[in-house]
């Protein structure tokens, strides 16, 4: 059902193009000079990092804006309380997400030479979630997991408890950016540098939290404007997330090839 729809869509052609362009040099490097395969795998992952992370970041900003807005409207909160809500949201997100990243690192370390299988698994998960976000396999349960509006409507991101809302977003995000972090951990692990691996994961967690936290801390009034547009621009954000996840799934295929060669 999904394959013909994907073939008709621009996303399908884009994904095939990226797969072709990225896999050819990956195979060439993996076979000719395996010592450099980690550099290419890392460069592929990091070069696409912004495209993977930006839609997730914007969804997080949209969720936080809605949480903050509804609290501010109901309880007539001042800027200080808005900032406190944002900090609790970020704490919930970080506390949920940090052990997930660590668990991925442990699994990668245990699999050692077979870590490329994990990267391929990550590619399948990312691609499947991306297609679900694009609504291509219609009628599946995955279609429900489509971002912040789902979290808010289902009550998982409770407006009364920003900390729990942050943790709920962490659950959503772990499936979204999880494969990306997994691949980063795998590539860092393959260079036999646990320090670089843990620093990368730490940098990733902080990188995801700071950008949505800074605007709300510096300009809470302006930030609330975003909430007004969540319902209007939500579908566009969801599509952007879907496209970026499909791209991530495609990107992880050459990364798996390079990991197998390392």
């Amino acid at each position: 059902m999904a394959a013909p729809a994907l073939a008709r869509s621009r996303t399908g052609w884009l994904a095939a193009g990226v797969l072709g362009v990225a896999t050819v040099p990956a195979v060439a490097v993996a076979t000719q000079s395996p010592a450099w395969s980690m550099l290419l795998a890392g460069a592929l992952l990091l070069a696409g990092g912004f495209v993977v992370m930006a839609p997730c970041e914007l969804q997080m900003a949209a969720t936080l804006a809605t949480v903050v807005r509804r609290r501010a409207t109901r309880e007539a909160l001042g800027a200080g309380a808005v900032r406190a809500s944002a900090l609790r949201f970020a704490a919930g997100y970080l506390l949920f997400y940090a052990p997930v990243a660590a668990a991925l690192g442990v699994v990668a370390w245990m699999l050692a030479g077979w870590s490329w299988v994990l990267a391929l698994g990550g590619a399948v998960v990312a691609g499947g979630l991306g297609l679900a976000a694009l609504g291509l396999p219609r009628g599946t349960r995955l279609a429900e997991c489509r971002g912040p509006l789902y979290l808010l409507r289902s009550g998982r991101a409770s407006l009364e408890r920003p900390f729990a809302a942050g943790a709920a977003f962490g659950r959503y995000c772990a499936t979204c950016c999880g494969p990306y972090v997994l691949a980063l951990v795998l590539v860092a692990g393959a260079t036999a540098s646990p320090v670089a691996g843990s620093l990368l994961v730490a940098a990733y967690a902080v990188t995801m939290t700071l950008p949505f936290l800074l605007p709300v801390l510096l300009a809470p009034a302006r930030y609330v404007v975003l909430a007004d547009r969540v319902a209007h621009d939500g579908p566009q954000l969801r599509t952007a997330t879907g496209v970026s996840l499909v791209a991530l799934g495609v990107l992880l295929v050459p990364v798996a090839v390079l990991l197998a060669a390392a």
Partner: protein, 260 residues
């Protein structure tokens, strides 16, 4: 020389801010805060112990470059909103804008693709081992390297700032996000070289003793983490700002249309 430059920059901004306050009757606190933060970042990069440490340690030198090229420029440009700079830009640019050719030249100079090119070329060229190590060996070239990184950063962030009035097609927020993504692709690829290259990129640090207690490859990876972390945080923060500003502008335009 650095201290004099920072004093002059600070004094010039105070003069502009006071003039704008007289004209509008209010302080642009965000602009003042951003400008002084930018000056502070430059002071930390160029006047603190970081400057000396950069000669023996690649991560310290990378941190210094990141402060110059990634952190300070957006702060400095945020500190120069159009309203603050209007008296200067109006006087300087009006004669050029009156001429057709002058307007065309200015439009080309301000085009995002050109700004991006300047940034990418300066960033890439100064990280080439031959040029980078020559810069470390020669004080004059080292100053030129730091100036080049600051210029590159200012060039990259200029199209995303509100310093210069739009001369060509408006740079819409979706295009701005694409611009940021392209910039990140270049910067992150460079960071990947430091993170995963199986050999030392710069031989200088082996000769200089490298980071105390760390092997040269670990130092190199740490430098990559510093570069990647700072670039990604700044770019994603900018992405949230770009979307917020874009939505606010769209909202204002929508309300104006409704009123009309």
């Amino acid at each position: 020389m650095v201290l004099t430059g920072l004093y002059l920059a600070a004094a010039a901004h105070v003069a502009l801010a006071v003039r704008a306050r007289r004209r509008t009757g209010r302080w642009d606190r965000a602009a003042v805060l951003a400008w002084w933060s930018g000056i502070g970042v430059l002071a930390v990069a160029l006047l603190s112990a970081l400057d000396g440490a950069g000669e023996d340690s690649l991560p310290a030198h990378m941190l210094q470059h990141v402060l110059l090229a990634t952190v300070a420029p957006p702060l400095l440009l945020r500190g120069l909103p159009r309203a603050l700079l209007a008296p200067v830009t109006a006087r300087a640019l009006r004669p050029v804008l009156r001429r057709r050719g002058g307007r065309r030249v200015l439009r080309r100079l301000a085009a995002p693709v050109n700004a991006f090119g300047v940034w990418a070329v300066l960033l890439g060229a100064w990280h080439l081992p031959a040029l980078y190590e020559r810069g470390l060996a020669s004080p004059g070239l080292h100053v030129a390297q730091h100036l080049a990184f600051l210029t590159a950063g200012l060039a990259f962030w200029l199209p995303l700032s509100e310093v210069v009035p739009p001369l060509g097609r408006p740079f819409r927020w979706r295009a701005r996000l694409g611009y940021l993504a392209a910039g990140q692709a270049v910067a992150a690829s460079l960071a990947a070289v430091f993170l995963w290259a199986p050999v030392r990129v710069y031989g200088w640090y082996a000769a200089a003793g490298s980071f105390p207690g760390a092997d040269p490859l670990a130092s190199q990876r740490l430098a990559g983490v510093v570069m990647l972390g700072a670039d990604m945080v700044v770019a994603l923060t900018a992405a949230v700002w770009v979307v917020l500003s874009g939505l606010t502008t769209t909202d204002r335009a929508g309300r104006a249309r409704l009123r009309a």
